[in-house]
Symmetry: C2
Subunit: 379 residues, 2 copies
């Protein structure tokens, strides 16, 4: 497990997953900012992306602060690490208490629907009665849309913001995930997933998987502008950059976890267990939705965002014209902040007109943690 | 080496590559259709794509025949296998006569400029005085543009057709190639390229590389239409399809060759050795060019085709609206045939008005060799 500063970890006694398996006494990790209001209805739930963590400051830092989207003086902000991720919640690197060994490749299939239901247990423990807004980008947006779907007929969730995502995993995402898993399987150190026991790790396979993933998060034009045909020593700088990013990733992630979470992504489909086609199902969603798409996104294309915006009745679609591709949801802070604030102030006037404004002091190291394009870790 | 039916293989005594190394007594393979005319000026040179061969019937079959683009009654059609490819010309799988062993990982870096100069030796032997048209798509288009560049001040090349390609390899192409090579390097059977000697082959690495490559040749929407979230047994059909394509590729290609030709692609830059920036250099090109771009192409984007069309003075840009992505240059036969014929009839009236029309009988197995979407081998 990789350490996240200031995280709370709770143990959940028992939960039966969609796949039929039951997890016992397993950890779930989360971080919070701000305070719950007197009506327990100001929760702002942030869902992290594929390889993200609960540490929102690290990847969406510029959106967090007084008068920003994630305003800790008005909202009780929470981000829960989803299962399968190595950042604190139960995953392949977690010790299975019944065996005394890490789950490894035996970690069961966890779906986005499971995450929503497990997170509800935590939110109940925290006395959250109502989620004012659930937000997420990419894989996080998939989970946000599951919240919308699961609580469609209840007032538990008030509003939904989904960025660069989809209501179900496309054949395109499934295919890229398959390719990346094959990169890991090919590494001789992978050993069918039982590599913890021999002290090994399929790092070169994981790095190659990351290189392919990173390219799907970017765009042809951003790479051309940034690298072109520049060389340093015998390598093109684009090559060196990819190798650097691959190596950086293996220091913060685990291969079995990567397999687990990409499989989770593949299963994502809000229409599963419902007798509607996707468009008809989207047309039944009742919450106000803000959909933010990126025009240069090659992974979750703008057409997928248009499908959401066109079909969800109470929705607004905003299109970012950033050249950065899919990763723009982690880069275009100002535009995203403006779109979110406009939406939130319209849909949640009770929050912005309330007298319950809590004190909030920005942590000292806060500003320096904001990501730059060069340091971005592509969560 | 993989066998190509009806191929001629000639031996070239000596050639010094751009990198400084000299190859001795090495093979070059080619196929021809039709006859050279009395003025030796009706050659139609076809440059194959990255993993292609001289067997044009196999991948551009529907363009070949009487009254089609590759009309063997009017043109002397020739396709020469480029170096580094395992289909007959000198490559890592070729025996180096000086050592008695396959070149393997010691095969030197061959560039597109080298290919043009080596092909000229063959064309001279065949008494070709003038190339009426040089055509290629993707990597083949890169070589076609090198012909345009190298013979800009001579009348050796009359016209150029380039599809879904670029005048120099983009950071995007370089990055995808790097990722694919890493897939091969990670395979334990790769053994630094010396796998022939132990009877091994990095097939799973090569298959993973192919899976990533294939996805860059296609598009999100074509995959969604074709596969969606369909399943067979426990796998998504998109997954099974990728695995099938990966396995199919390892039976027709070699990993060291794949490394050699992707490195060749990376080096492609028609401005190398010239003191001009790309736009200025393109503005100096003199031949008539037909540029065909594909709007859904994510690898050689339409903006790259627009750059060519905008800057090359005597050029026509046609845009295909196919949903198939980059591979449309191997699928949209009818549109491509029409665009090419229109261009050729305008630019080469002497060919179409000539009385020298040769007899041509279509080989019996010809029709059945035309590719279908399902059988396409993504050259």
């Amino acid at each position: 497990m990789f350490q996240i500063k200031g995280q709370t970890i709770v143990e959940i006694p028992e939960y039966t997953l969609e796949c039929g398996e039951t997890l016992y006494n397993f950890p779930v990790a989360y971080k919070t900012w701000g305070k719950l209001n007197s009506t327990q209805s100001n929760a702002f739930l942030i869902c992290h992306a594929l390889t993200g963590s609960s540490d929102v400051q690290d990847w969406w830092g510029p959106l967090l602060g007084i008068n920003k989207t994630f305003d800790p003086s008005r909202y009780f902000i929470i981000c829960i690490n989803f299962l399968g991720s190595p950042y604190g919640s139960c995953s392949p690197v977690t010790i299975d208490k019944s065996t005394g060994k890490a789950y490894g490749p035996n970690f069961p299939l966890v779906t986005a629907k499971d995450d929503v239901r497990i997170q509800k247990i935590i939110l109940d423990q925290l006395n959250v009665k109502q989620i004012a807004c659930v937000i997420g980008g990419s894989m996080g947006g998939m989970i946000a849309l599951e919240y919308s779907s699961i609580y469609n007929d209840s007032d538990y969730v008030k509003t939904v913001i989904a960025l660069a995502t989809s209501a179900r995993a496309s054949a395109w995402c499934i295919s890229w995930n398959e390719t990346q898993r094959q990169c890991i399987f090919n590494d001789p150190a992978y050993d069918d997933g039982y590599y913890y026991e021999n002290g090994n790790s399929p790092t070169s396979g994981l790095a190659a998987a990351r290189m392919a993933a990173l390219l799907t998060y970017r765009s042809r034009n951003s790479f051309e502008t940034r690298f072109g045909r520049n060389k340093s020593n015998d390598l093109f700088t684009a090559q060196s950059y990819l190798r650097y990013q691959g190596n950086k990733f293996i220091n913060r992630f685990d291969a079995n976890c990567y397999i687990a979470i990409t499989r989770k992504l593949d299963t994502h489909d809000i229409t599963r267990d419902h007798d509607f086609d996707l468009e008809k199902y989207l047309q039944r969603l009742k919450k106000p939705h803000l959909i933010i798409g990126i025009e240069s996104d090659g992974l979750f294309t703008i057409s997928e965002q248009e499908l959401l915006g066109k079909n969800i009745p109470n929705s607004i679609l905003k299109k970012l014209t950033s050249p950065e591709g899919h990763d723009a949801f982690l880069l275009e802070f100002e535009l995203i902040n403006n779109y979110c604030l406009e939406f939130l102030k319209k849909e949640l006037p009770e929050i912005y007109e309330s007298d319950e404004v809590f004190e909030w002091t920005e942590p000292e190291e806060f500003e320096s943690m904001c990501s730059e394009v060069d340091n971005i870790t592509n969560w």
